[in-house]
């Protein structure tokens, strides 16, 4: 693929997630995307070829291009989230490559948390299976805005339109229960490359784009919330010395909305109001800041603001509260206990909390609510009510992924044990 230097400096970034197991041909699909977009180097290719041959494989296993850790290569499975990179003249892509089995739900959730798009693989011979439902549910739980259903291995299904249509109908039927706004279906064969990068000649009944074409063109600009300004203060930039004597910048990453010089803002929790005097990145000033920019904001008045505080607009503020309901995915071997105290990290804020109630556990196979559940074990998902030691400034996760999410940290082990998505105030 040809790039001009200018094109390089004018590309979008799309982060997407792939979920599936080795059997679905997920690693082969990623290998194919990297290989056909010429993102694989010769020495990496040689290393994969050498490894294939030494294992006695008949041909080079494209999956070997992506399986990173020795244990994974030896066992032919994917254990952890791996990040891959490739670019076309239009976009740079970051792939969060996640294992598909139920015991790796936490890994998939991790990969999903930063993704704008998810690829779900379906083996055309098997159709929609339990794993498909689970992956689709997690995609909707983490509110990934775009979903692509890859009906793979069409070469083994006689390139049959009937098979494809049936899978599509089945998927649409159960996916109606989820809040997924943008779903695209693509019949393909990762092994032969049909409809991955190049349009298939074996399926002339399919008029849609190839996978890569879709990834390059799917509209992602609208994924960012430009309406509700939220700026969690992360770090106060305060130079010592005379030269910048008057500088006091609030460093942080815009969570959502747009901030402009001259805007009236309110600082939480103090409620003090001021106006934006300047916005800069490393001393270079600009007129506005939009998500996900990391900037420093100076205010007209000298008000007391520190890490964990939030800037927003007086007439558009997040909820402030200590009693919060959230969906939580448990990520540790030690189960979540009701009544136990944990530390949470939410935006740039840290607080302690007590888990007051487990409303229900959600069976991710059947989506039934198990109300008699007493704890949450590794990879289990449930709705909890917590009370925090101080107010958090939050939005529902469905409105803002940054101000609507928090992680739960075990105070004994310091491990990250839970990922939570805020529903709202506890009733």
């Amino acid at each position: 693929m040809d790039f001009s230097t200018d094109a390089y400096l004018d590309m979008d970034l799309l982060r997407f997630l792939t979920c599936g197991s080795v059997d679905d041909g997920k690693s082969t699909l990623i290998g194919r995307l990297l290989y056909d977009s010429k993102s694989i180097f010769e020495d990496q290719l040689e290393a994969a070829e050498t490894a294939s041959l030494s294992r006695g494989d008949q041909r080079m296993d494209l999956a070997l291009l992506t399986d990173g850790l020795r244990a994974e290569r030896e066992q032919g499975i994917t254990i952890d989230v791996a990040y891959r990179y490739f670019a076309t003249p239009k976009r740079k892509f970051i792939i969060a490559d996640c294992p598909g089995h139920v015991q790796y739900t936490r890994n998939m959730v991790t990969g999903a948390s930063t993704a704008n798009l998810a690829l779900i693989l379906i083996d055309a011979r098997h159709g929609v299976i339990e794993q498909t439902r689970r992956h689709s549910f997690i995609t909707s739980l983490l509110r990934i805005p775009h979903l692509v259903v890859c009906v793979n291995k069409m070469d083994l299904a006689d390139w049959s339109q009937e098979t494809y249509d049936k899978i599509r109908e089945d998927f649409e039927e159960f996916a109606a229960r989820f809040e997924i706004t943008d779903i695209t279906f693509i019949p393909m064969s990762a092994l032969t490359g049909d409809n991955v990068v190049n349009r298939s000649e074996n399926m002339d009944w399919y008029q849609g784009p190839s996978l890569l074409h879709h990834l390059e063109n799917v509209h992602i600009a609208g994924d960012r919330d430009m309406i509700d300004p939220r700026f969690p203060v992360q770090w106060v930039v305060r130079p010592q010395g005379d030269e910048h004597h008057d500088y006091r910048g609030y460093g942080g990453q815009v969570a959502s909305g747009v901030f402009q010089v001259g805007d009236e803002v309110v600082a939480l929790p103090s409620g003090m109001e001021s106006k934006i005097k300047s916005i800069d990145i490393g001393g270079a000033s600009q007129q506005f800041a939009s998500p996900p920019q990391s900037v420093s904001i100076q205010l007209e008045n000298d008000i007391d603001i520190s890490r964990g505080d939030m800037l927003c607009r007086p007439n558009n503020q997040p909820t402030s509260g200590q009693d919060i309901d959230a969906m939580v995915v448990w990520m540790a071997d030690t189960p979540m206990q009701v009544g136990k105290k944990y530390t949470i990290r939410h935006t740039s804020n840290e607080a302690r909390c007590i888990v007051k109630n487990l409303n229900y556990r959600l069976d991710i196979e059947t989506l039934h609510r198990v109300e008699e559940a007493e704890d949450l074990k590794l990879n289990e998902i449930g709705r909890i009510s917590i009370r925090t030691t101080k107010p958090l400034f939050y939005d529902p996760y469905r409105q803002c992924r940054v101000t609507g999410s928090f992680i739960i940290v075990d105070e004994q082990t310091n491990n990250t044990v839970g990922a939570a998505m805020i529903i709202g105030e506890t009733n």
Partner: protein
């Protein structure tokens, strides 16, 4: 065009600006969550980009951490000169910890054999620096695109008392929330440019007009061919070996590590635009020029487990 679509186009961020924003966020998070961080500075392009990102995160104030150079004693003289000049111009503190000092104390050894290397000797030197200065977090310029084991490493990567990485027991890392809580003795390595590729680094250098050592640009240099690679020759111990013929070639370096383990590539690329063009057309990965990775398929994974970056 509707007003909303209009504003979306107006506020569009390119991939480089999105990556920059992520890196600044990570650096500030470390400054806020840790007592004694340091930024690993090698004089290579990735660490130079890190310095630029630190300026974006903390200027007009000083960095809330020093730079740390693990000096192998096998550096290119050009890289050292560049290091000193850069540190001087940004006015930040540089701590130099020397592998030679550890070797003299008998706490580190050079790998023997026909290709002596101080790659492994960096590990005890780094751990000694951490202990001496009580660093609790170290910024590194490693990228996930460099190598398969790195593709699975977290941005906040925990090390135990021995500096070891346990790839199967990593903390989940979600959204842009980083959990830096650690116990005494533990420390973390933080990789703010994890999600950058070699190409992104070059484009960013071009976009921001960042100065880098001349080694990266095409120049005439004396080299020998060794195991199919162009190895730079210099003063002892980097002279030619028996039977090797020194030739002058027009080369540049894609990566700048130790003179003992960095190979040059034939290249006429004399400016950044030409380098970007060359990287785009390249058929060999950047680490392909690092002889330390050639030893086994899982070379990097093994060294990381021992405490390598």
């Amino acid at each position: 065009m509707s007003q909303i679509a209009d504003s979306q186009a107006h506020y569009r961020l390119t991939h480089l600006k999105a990556l920059e924003a992520e890196a600044i966020h990570i650096m500030r998070e470390v400054a806020a969550q840790f007592e004694k961080p340091a930024l690993m500075f090698s004089g290579g392009k990735d660490s130079i980009v890190m310095v630029k990102l630190a300026e974006k995160a903390f200027r007009p104030a000083k960095f809330p951490f020093p730079l740390l150079h693990i000096d192998t004693g096998h550096n290119f003289p050009e890289a050292l000169a560049f290091r000193d000049q850069l540190v001087d111009s940004i006015g930040e503190r540089l701590i130099i910890h020397k592998v030679q000092d550890l070797i003299d104390k008998g706490m580190a050894t050079e790998d023997p054999g026909p290709f002596p290397s101080r790659n492994r000797a960096q590990i005890p030197t780094l751990l000694d620096a951490i202990e001496t200065y009580q660093f609790d977090a170290l910024f590194g310029g490693a990228r996930r695109d460099e190598e398969k084991a790195r593709a699975k490493e977290r941005i906040f990567s925990f090390r135990d008392d021995f500096g070891q990485w346990d790839p199967k027991n990593q903390r989940p890392e979600l959204w842009n929330l980083y959990n830096g809580r650690s116990r005494m003795g533990e420390n973390i390595r933080v990789f703010p440019i994890s999600n950058w590729t070699e190409m992104d680094v070059w484009q960013y250098i071009m976009l921001e007009e960042i100065e880098i050592p001349d080694l990266y640009f095409s120049h005439e240099r004396e080299v020998v061919e060794r195991r199919g690679q162009l190895v730079p020759v210099g003063d002892a111990p980097f002279g030619p070996r028996d039977g090797e013929e020194v030739v002058k070639r027009t080369v540049r370096f894609r990566t700048v590590g130790d003179m003992s383990c960095t190979a040059a590539t034939d290249s006429p690329a004399a400016n950044l635009e030409e380098i970007v063009g060359e990287v785009a057309a390249a058929r060999a990965s950047e680490r392909g020029a690092r002889m330390d990775d050639k030893n086994s398929e899982a070379a990097m994974e093994d060294r990381k487990k021992e405490g390598y970056f």
